[in-house]
Amino acid sequence: MKILYFAWLRERLNRAEEEVSPPDEIGTIAQLIDWLASRDEAFAHATQKRALIKAAVDAKLVGHDAPVRGASTVAFFPPMTGG
């Protein structure tokens, strides 16, 4: 599973993407965040305020309760500031 990071989340983690293989019990975005935080202190710190972390699964915007099993790309990013 490819993970993408954008904006200040990308900067704080010092990477734009990574490949991960979450265990089978990781079913939702919220669980994926918990799992990524458990193995990486920088990630845990950067995602402490969960309300500031938005997510997309395979280029579709989703909530933290969305399923991630079978996804090929999951993206995490701060609130958007376009326009």
Binding site: W8, A56, A59, P79, M80, G82, G83
Partner: protein
Amino acid sequence: MAVRVTTEAFDPGAELNAFLEASNGAGAAATFTGVVRSDPQDPISALTLECYPELAVNQLTAIVEQARHRFSLLAATIIHRYGTLAPGEPIVQVMTLSPHRQAAFEGAEFLMDYLKTDAPFWKQETGPQGTSWVQAKSEDDKAKARWE
């Protein structure tokens, strides 16, 4: 193409003329053009927009479809740039076409309000104090909420 997400500069007037060209006897076109702002009291030298292009195209296409239905628009277009821009350069343009001005205006406002909060762009300003991320504004959430 109703949605264009691009690093290339665009010409607001040429885009408006191309949009009107295809108007086919509709009466009312509303356009919003957003350009890189630089407050003389607090000037910036550059604005950099980061983008997740694949998600941006999906989100903007969905917003355009929603606007077309909701306001019975005959056409709607969003052009959004990303990359590093200088003050005065156009960032975004939305255009709507309708037989009546009210729907054209409302459609364009709706597109802008949604785009501000729901399109994956992130702005970073470079000025005398260095570079910093632009914070999401609660006004933008409120502006979007009025359509719900």
